[in-house]
Amino acid sequence: MPHIEVVGHQLAEALNGYSADYIEAHLEESQSSYITYRGRELESMGRTTAVGGNIRALVRGGWGFTSFNNLDELPGKVELAVKQARLVGSRESKLAAVEPVVDAVPAKIDKNPVAMPLAEKKQLLDEYNDIIWHTPKLQTSIISYGDSHKKAIFLSSSGSYIEQERADITLRLTAVATKGNEVQQTGLSLGSRGDFRLIQGRHQQVEQMAQHAVELLSAPQVKGGEYTVVLDPVLAGVFVHEAFGHLSESDFVYENDRLRQIMTLGKNFGSSELNIVDSAATPGLRGSYKYDDEGVPATKTYLIREGKLVGRLHSRETAAKMKEKPTGNARAINYHYPPIVRMTNTYIEPKSAPFEDIIGGIKEGVYAKNWYGGMTSMEMFTFSAGEAYMIRNGKLAEALRPVVLTGNVFNTLKNIDAIGNDLEMNQGGGCGKGGQMPLPVSNGSPHIRIRHCLIGGR
């Protein structure tokens, strides 16, 4: 099969010959490997190679899209996308103007993780698995490692031609403890933008995770209700992603007049201490890139500044329809899907409060750490903590079973009354939206305190 570079250059010359308002193509070559453990032994190991692409066409406001593995006969595929778009289109096409870009962006990593010897990767996972299995009373472990290296070409009928490479690593470790019919589990998620060294040397964290699974067997479940909660940087990162990040994705808003009224720029969402940022332009994180999947340069976007809504995330179409500037947030997990508005690296900016002050004044509350996951319906969101402790009289007290927290975006952000000084970015997450999952993102925060947070429990 011809290399995607050859195909890309041929296609670039041909893209203008169709009657569409706009056409773009994505071509991709990727390699990946994965290793899983369930229990004492390695369970599976595999390598994957993939080549594929897609064509997206816009005619009178309607989109056509075709994706494929076979790179032959691309002109016919362009025609199909244009035909589909014409069937949909009934209005005017609107795309925010961007300068055409011709660029090549290498992955900027010392060592391609996919090309590393499998033995070297297995060695590290064996060490982590041994730690889990050396923990007394532990039942079993689940480890899931994956890496990928991808070269993607983006080209458009407006003359852009961008080659970008990226690498990605994820590692999820789970420890399972049992006693009779009782089963408890804890997890640790790590990741990096292709740098294997960043998942090395985590032995101590793995040990703590495994010990905590055993502790949970005798931990009580929290009583359901409203609490003052303190979130650690990892969980606060998930919180900002779920509680606010998704609502700032303009594809939810741009054709929804009521939501547009609610999400008017300048509206107050929190205290004057609260700043929320999404930034693909910050280098080296899992959500970082130079151009998004519409060829728009990445930006650092303030979503909330001093408590007020000041920005949101855009594709070229949502930016044009809302008469705002494109932010370079259109992303697709791979060539099977069209790009949609997504977050990148999302975080709460640090302030001054040290951790001791944040928990100091709490008579009875919950300290929630680490994450299982999170979900949002825009107004309501839930996120769950992998670890939780009671706070009593300003001090950390007994461990609790994992807790699920819920809130309402219009109240909960306002209830944040302390923001710490210890920003950390969590690289272990993956985001799902519109069937596209998991997309590499990172999120982070310093420790934060939230009043009146609803927790599910007995």
Binding site: G39, E41, M45, G62, S90, V176, V183, T406
Partner: protein
């Protein structure tokens, strides 16, 4: 070897927005070399040498193969392909989507809908070095709609979907299910923070109770000693009224197929019989390690090596109608959609979530929808004593068929 084609027609903000056509091809190769399993996949059908090299490399470290692949065998005749699916025109699909949106909008004019009408086909070919061979095709057609209604900062989410191996050319039932939700959600009702009786609708069961059950009946979880019911085979763990089976043999259902991804013939596998744990689900390797037989549940659904996975969970209907369940509650909840329920300790059977769509019952009547409400429970406690099992079973997402379940008590926390 799997090749598939899919054509989704998508509506956003009540309007036709996208037509897509997706084709994909892939080959997966599993080898056993010096007793160890190697595995590789590719989309590059021409480059078989690279595929073999990759598989050989991974076989250095792979698990020791304990199983024997099936030789040439005959498969049950299971209908899952309807030629008519492919011939449904794009114009017809657009018309179906328009109809769905129009039905919902005629009831609630200011609702914003996203709708999807999708047709697709998959062909699967499995061959092995013992002469085993399986080929089958499957067609899938699905309809779905989600509506969002915003009043001030209050948001209501409703939605329904249906899928089949036949074309679904009558969107009425899907539309009416959404209207039913909108009708019940017209008013808001408050809930006390205390244990309450709960009716889970089929959608509610899918979002709250199914993920823990899937983990518990997975033969691999059992083998590792991490399933709470792993050592309870043949014992009564659930309410006597409860029957659950895995069934890939029902004609024209999206989960149906003549064999699993290892070429093992499809079978119906009882999992809960009269409340008693009857079986677990196995692929070849897990079954060999557990000294039992594969149940034909080897699935490569996540692109990796085959692993046990259900094809379709079927919960047998009971005798009580949904209306009778509601009538029976003095104060209680009907749960249609839980958000975030599968984020907790699934292995242990715990679930906890925000009631995204649910209704309050007072004196035998649904009085409105609830908000800012969390429910928490453990499926082993909840399914041990079920007040009643519904008489009206329904397909959810193509892979679950269940009636509503009426449970005596669930912990509720509310603002």
């Amino acid at each position: 070897m799997v090749s598939s084609g899919e054509t989704p027609v998508q509506f956003e903000a009540n309007r036709l927005k996208h037509i897509q056509s997706k084709r994909s091809n892939s080959v997966a190769l599993r080898i056993v070399k010096q007793g160890r399993i190697g595995y590789a996949t590719t989309t590059e059908l021409g480059d078989s040498q690279k595929l073999v090299n990759n598989a050989v490399e991974t076989a250095q470290f792979g698990m020791t193969a304990k199983f024997e692949l099936p030789s040439l065998t005959s498969y049950p005749q299971i209908e899952a392909y309807d030629l008519d699916v492919e011939s449904v025109s794009l114009e017809k699909m657009i018309e179906l989507g328009d109809k769905l949106v129009a039905t919902v909008k005629s009831h609630t004019p200011d609702i914003l809908c996203e709708a999807g009408v999708t047709k697709g086909t998959v062909s699967v070919r499995i061959i092995n070095s013992r002469g085993g061979e399986a080929n089958y095709r499957k067609s899938i057609f699905s309809l779905g709609i989600e509506g969002t209604l915003i009043r001030d900062t209050d948001m209501l989410f409703v939605g329904e979907g249906e899928s089949s191996c036949h074309p679904l050319l009558e969107p009425k039932a899907v539309g009416e299910a959404v209207l039913w939700q909108l009708e019940l959600a017209k008013n808001q009702a408050s809930v006390p923070s205390q244990p309450l009786p709960v009716v889970f609708t089929p959608n509610g069961i899918a979002s709250a109770l199914i993920p823990p059950l899937m983990a518990a009946f997975n033969g691999k979880t059992v083998l590792e000693g991490a399933s709470p019911i792993g050592n309870r085979l043949g014992q009564p763990v659930f309410d006597k009224k409860l029957w659950l089976r895995d069934d890939p043999t029902i004609a024209y259902r999206p989960g149906s197929r003549p064999c699993d991804d290892e070429g093992i013939p499809s079978q119906r596998t009882p999992l809960i019989e009269q409340g008693t744990v009857a079986n677990f689900l196995y692929d070849l390797q897990t079954a060999a390690l557990a000294h039992t037989q594969s149940t034909g549940n080897g699935s490569r659904s996540r692109g990796g090596l085959p692993t046990p996975s259900p094809s379709a969970f079927i919960i047998a209907p009971g005798k009580t109608s949904f209306d009778e369940m509601v009538k029976d509650m003095k104060e209680g909840l009907v749960i249609e959609q839980l958000m975030g329920a599968s984020q907790g300790n699934i292995l242990g059977g715990d679930f906890s979530g925000n009631v995204l769509l649910g209704y309050k019952v007072e004196n035998g009547k649904i009085v409105g929808r609830v908000k800012d409400t969390m429910v928490s429970g453990n499926i082993y406690q909840i399914l041990k004593q079920i007040t009643a099992i519904g008489s009206e079973a329904k397909w959810v997402g193509g892979f679950l068929n269940t009636p509503p379940l009426y449970c005596p008590s669930l912990s509720v926390a509310s603002k």
